[in-house]
Subunit: 156 residues, 4 copies
């Protein structure tokens, strides 16, 4: 994958950023965007009572974890697709934003999601023209690896 | 799996039902419980604007789908564990409710989640003493198969 | 999926059949082709000592199971791609045979693989132009469901 | 996971080693054991004509990849279980060898398996008393990442 030298322009970064922030369910969750580059995407999630799954132990709902990792992986897939299409005009690359879709997702829940703020990280495993495979991780604020995942995305 | 003859008592059914309804994030999503039996669990989800993922097309967020299928599969795993422990007193079986956990989850997103009301169905594939494997499906109200999933659960 | 009316011509059926039989590792396993249609693919595997994984209990190696389910799902994906490209000449459709590839695979091992002959079944979940999602099952000769799987394939 | 300080005794190492080498299908594949420690397991696979999947391009069969990654992950799960049971006598720990089982496996095929010798690596993600989650990678001899996988194992 030679796209490591691809630099996301401020325009594309802004487009990806406003795209993800406009998604209603991302707002419900309270996802905050972090790094958006062709090598890595990070997103943050502050804990709040509505996100609790196990009310006995006050830990994050598994669905919140899978949602966040899916969103983070999707952003990575999209940026990878941009890198593969540097010859296309910006407008066409932006159009791909609305065509992005998750094909499948696997999440492994390793440890309870305890903490005040969680960080999701996505790394590209394969960036094809049509299909991207992305690896994701979720850490709590004390550095515990809470969950890992792998997503396959259709990216244009 | 000979537990097919297991009948969930009204008491256990009520316990499972109030357990899942008390989960904060299930309330955020608006999950409604349907059938709760040892052969099948169904849950329903009415569409609402907060659950949208693709705002261009107005379709369900992938994270909502994975959340709902995870919850539905978890309930099935739990009821399967009850069936395997018919000799235990009710109180001990209820204690297992708070220990239920998803080990891993795979979701395949097959078609866009369009519609006013979605139905998740879970069927047991394997109900062990410790680990259950459950298959899930999500249909929209016009009968379209939107997504399928498989979950592995630790159930006590 | 309106391709259910697609009928695999004898020529294509023969092509798929000889393609799969020429694959060296399929011969090592001893895979026998069964039904090849646009609705279902079945394959059979006679037990032999080389395929044993657990020598204490004499059961099928997990890798044999994942191999067989992957092959069976791949054939289904390929036939689905043929159905989507009925307008293409046979020669072009045949060319796709060599481009078929598994993107990802999930296998759930439900029960020990005991028996003299196993049957794998593949059913299409989604047949797109580029990506197919297929569901697979493995039964032993007494009807036991030994394993299930889901595969995502790039099909041309 | 505090078991990182666990040192696999020569006796256990020998037991694991002879266990895996006695498995008939591992011999068919030609799997060679590499490092066996509580932090990592590596295995090697020399290419040979029987292992070919795509005869047009001469690349490794997907089933060979999933088999090797499953075996490598299983060895890692087993060693993790040993580490969790240091208080048990060796004989009991050895008994667990025959109870090891894969619950589920996900493989992502990233790039064609080309090369003369492949190396599988397994790293523990979670080592519980009953269930272990392991991450696996397959590299070809030129360092290409060919496939990744995640396995969930029942380990006693």
């Amino acid at each position: 994958m030679s796209e490591s030298s691809f630099v996301l322009t401020a325009e594309l970064q802004q487009a990806v950023s406003s795209f993800f922030q406009r998604i209603p369910f991302n707002q419900v969750l309270g996802i905050e965007l972090g790094e958006l580059s062709s090598e890595q995407v990070t997103m943050h999630l502050p804990m709040k009572p509505e996100l609790i799954g196990n009310f006995v132990h006050g830990i994050l709902h598994g669905g919140v974890i899978s949602s966040l990792l899916d969103v983070c992986g999707g952003a990575m897939a999209l940026i990878g697709a941009f890198a593969n299409h540097q010859n296309l005009p910006s407008s066409e690359r932006l159009m791909r934003l609305s065509k992005l879709g998750t094909i499948d997702l696997r999440i492994d829940y390793l440890r309870p999601g305890r903490g005040q703020r969680f960080t999701a990280t996505a790394l590209p495993l394969r960036s094809g023209n049509k299909v991207a495979v992305v690896r994701m991780e979720l850490h709590s604020d004390d550095g515990t690896l809470v969950a890992v995942g792998t997503g396959t995305y259709l990216c244009g």
